[in-house]
């Protein structure tokens, strides 16, 4: 249900009224016509090589390209970046949006430098993910427009991360942190804050 009712943020929206400077600057950066660099184009060729050299094979590159675009840009997928992916695969933008809105790992809004994803499903819940989430929220502080005021953190509650035997799990960007508790979660945020 949540998957069906996602919104795409348009850069044209009134982000300029936001009180979060980091959010504003991220939105401003997203308002550009994106282009792949030479190195990036070379990498895209290696992605294409995995799939059959025909129309159907080309469409298969959509998920890998969205991942790549998100990683290479700013950790999220503004519409103009999706347009670049659409042009690369020669498919309509709406097809790209259709797919990007289906998968939760594609961020349709700017996220902080550290995206903290907390699993709160059954195994993590039994081992105390509730306390971990509360502790993270307390330590990170106020969230405005999806991220903390210093632009460092976004906290998302996610579904099972598939590491139940090492629960509770928190994912920091791409890395898993295992067996968290209220104290370790607090320390985790403090460490990341110090790192900046």
């Amino acid at each position: 249900m949540d998957r069906i009712t996602v919104d795409i943020v348009d850069v044209a929206n009134e982000y300029k009224n936001s009180k979060n400077e980091h959010y504003k600057s991220k939105m401003e950066r997203a308002d550009q016509d994106f282009k792949w660099s030479k190195e990036q184009l070379a990498h895209i060729e290696t992605i294409k090589a995995k799939y059959p050299d025909n129309e159907k094979g080309k469409k298969s590159t959509l998920l890998p390209l969205l991942h790549y675009a998100q990683d290479e840009f700013d950790g999220w997928l503004p519409v103009k970046l999706m347009q670049l992916v659409a042009d690369t695969i020669e498919m309509p933008l709406i097809k790209v949006q259709e797919v990007a809105t289906f998968y939760t790992m594609f961020n349709l809004k700017p996220v902080g430098k550290y995206h903290l994803q907390v699993c709160t499903n059954c195994a993590c819940m039994v081992t105390g993910s509730g306390k971990v989430l509360t502790s993270l929220k307390e330590e990170v502080g106020e969230i405005e427009d999806g991220m903390s005021k210093d632009g460092l953190f976004t906290i998302t509650e996610v579904e099972c991360l598939g590491a139940c035997i090492q629960s509770p799990v928190v994912q920091v960007n791409k890395a898993y942190k295992f067996r968290q508790n209220a104290t370790s979660a607090k320390e985790l945020v403090q460490k990341l804050k110090a790192k900046g």
């Binding site: 249900m1 998957r3 939760t104 059954c122 039994v126 996610v158 099972c160 629960s167 898993y176």
Partner: protein
């Protein structure tokens, strides 16, 4: 030692815990890749036929006999090559076995894929790994590269590629996975046609779980007699169980199928936190399977057929132990919320019904409504179950049905 324990020699996944060297050198020391050429010299169809009596059932949840599934594959043609797709989109809450296979024992999977490709006459295998498993996919890619270097994989003869998912539980359903691999929304296809006839890019395709493919490779090498010494008729072999939750030593462990649940929890995993008497309920095979009460857990046998007597199933063998210290109703509501989040939105009974089930359950747990509403909720679940393209909706209502069937007094208490 328990008769269900599996010796180091007999384990399919010798490095499941990650204590040993995962790389190709370590794997070969443990007997990996030896006699592979012998298997590859045999006729593919003969191998499949010889494997049919092995009682190997798919480890991804449905438990369909793997050799039978393989036998559905037609001969490839130039226009329509055969594909083998490995389902590593592990997302069922309570399950994390494939992750440990990918990061600690990736070569068992690579070797299984090589043998699988040979049996299915496929030149290309895709490994669909869930997007969150970044480190695991890097490890798997390293293993694939090593296998190319050592000459076990050869370009154009047998290629393995990794394709990353992007966070959608439904992509673990085989046809949704294929749609996702084709660059679309992961919405399951209507069957028939089955993937063996119309799979990836419309070509014959077999989709198997990580554990299944790895184990099939080892059975093809070691033979039926070795495999059938474990488990019982129709439920042979070893199996990786993920045991988590309120347990003293949560772990992934490979034991013989047919292990009693109590033995698995008490002897292999250090017991329930606070002792066996502190047990409130057990989810036996991932969040979709129906709960077991402590009395049932006392005698339950962990294989595909035995759990049916408790109206439950083995599923993915992700055991979640829930003790009396936890609020069972909150946990089941959380599971219901998971399904509400993950419905793909294709079929109306699921798209509309699963959030409805969640809202009704939430109301009851908050003490709103009457005893009759409990029965209404059960009726509602029966209107969803079996009415959709894939089995997602069934898996979404079973935990609620199981809760009401076995723990109704907990709900009634709330409504007093």
């Amino acid at each position: 030692m328990s008769k269900f324990a599996v010796s180091f020699e007999d384990k399919v996944f010798k490095n499941l815990d990650g204590d040993l060297d995962w790389s190709i050198e370590g794997y070969k020391e443990r007997g990996g890749y030896d006699r592979l050429a012998e298997v590859l010299a045999k006729d593919p169809k003969e191998i499949i036929n010889s494997l049919k009596p092995c009682g190997m059932r798919g480890r991804g949840g449905a438990g369909f006999p793997t050799a039978i599934k393989w036998s559905f594959m037609p001969d490839p043609t130039d226009e329509k090559p055969n594909y083998l797709v490995c389902n590593a989109d592990e997302g069922e809450p309570g399950t994390c076995k494939d992750r440990d296979i990918l990061r600690n024992d990736p070569h068992t999977l690579v070797e299984g894929l090589i043998i699988g490709c040979h049996c299915l006459q496929a030149k290309t295998a895709y490994v669909y790994i869930r997007g969150e498993y970044h480190i695991e996919s890097v490890r798997m890619q390293e293993a694939i590269d090593q296998a190319y270097e050592a000459g076990y994989l050869k370009e154009g003869i047998c290629d393995i590629y990794i394709h990353m998912g992007a966070g959608a539980y439904i992509c673990g359903e085989e046809t949704a996975l294929l749609e996702s691999l084709e660059g679309k929304r992961g919405q399951p296809r209507l069957k028939p046609p089955f993937p063996a006839n119309f799979g990836l890019y419309g070509c014959p395709t077999t989709v198997n779980n990580v554990e299944t493919i790895a184990q099939m490779g080892v059975i093809a090498k070691k033979g039926l007699d070795w495999w059938t010494q474990f488990g019982s008729e129709n439920n042979h072999g070893t199996k990786v169980f993920s045991v988590s939750g309120a347990i003293n030593s949560p772990k992934n462990i490979e034991v013989a199928l047919g292990v009693p649940l109590k033995e698995l929890i008490e002897d292999f995993c250090g017991g329930v936190k606070g002792g066996w008497d502190n047990l409130q309920a057990v989810i036996p095979g991932g969040s979709s399977t129906k709960l077991l009460t402590p009395e049932e857990a006392e005698t339950a046998i962990m294989d595909f057929d035995s759990l049916k007597q408790f109206n439950s199933s083995l599923g993915t063998a992700g055991v979640v132990v829930i003790s009396k210290d936890e609020n069972l109703l909150d946990i089941m509501l959380r599971i219901s919320r998971f399904y509400k989040h993950e419905t793909c939105g294709q079929c109306t009974p699921c798209r509309e019904g699963i959030p409805w089930v969640y809202r009704d359950l939430e109301k009851l747990i908050n003490g709103k409504g009457s005893i009759e509403d409990i029965d209404k909720l059960v009726k509602l679940t029966h209107k969803i179950e079996g009415k959709t393209i894939c089995a997602f909706a069934d898996g979404a209502v079973w935990p609620v049905q199981g809760l009401i069937a076995k723990f109704k007094p907990l709900l009634e208490e709330k409504l007093k």
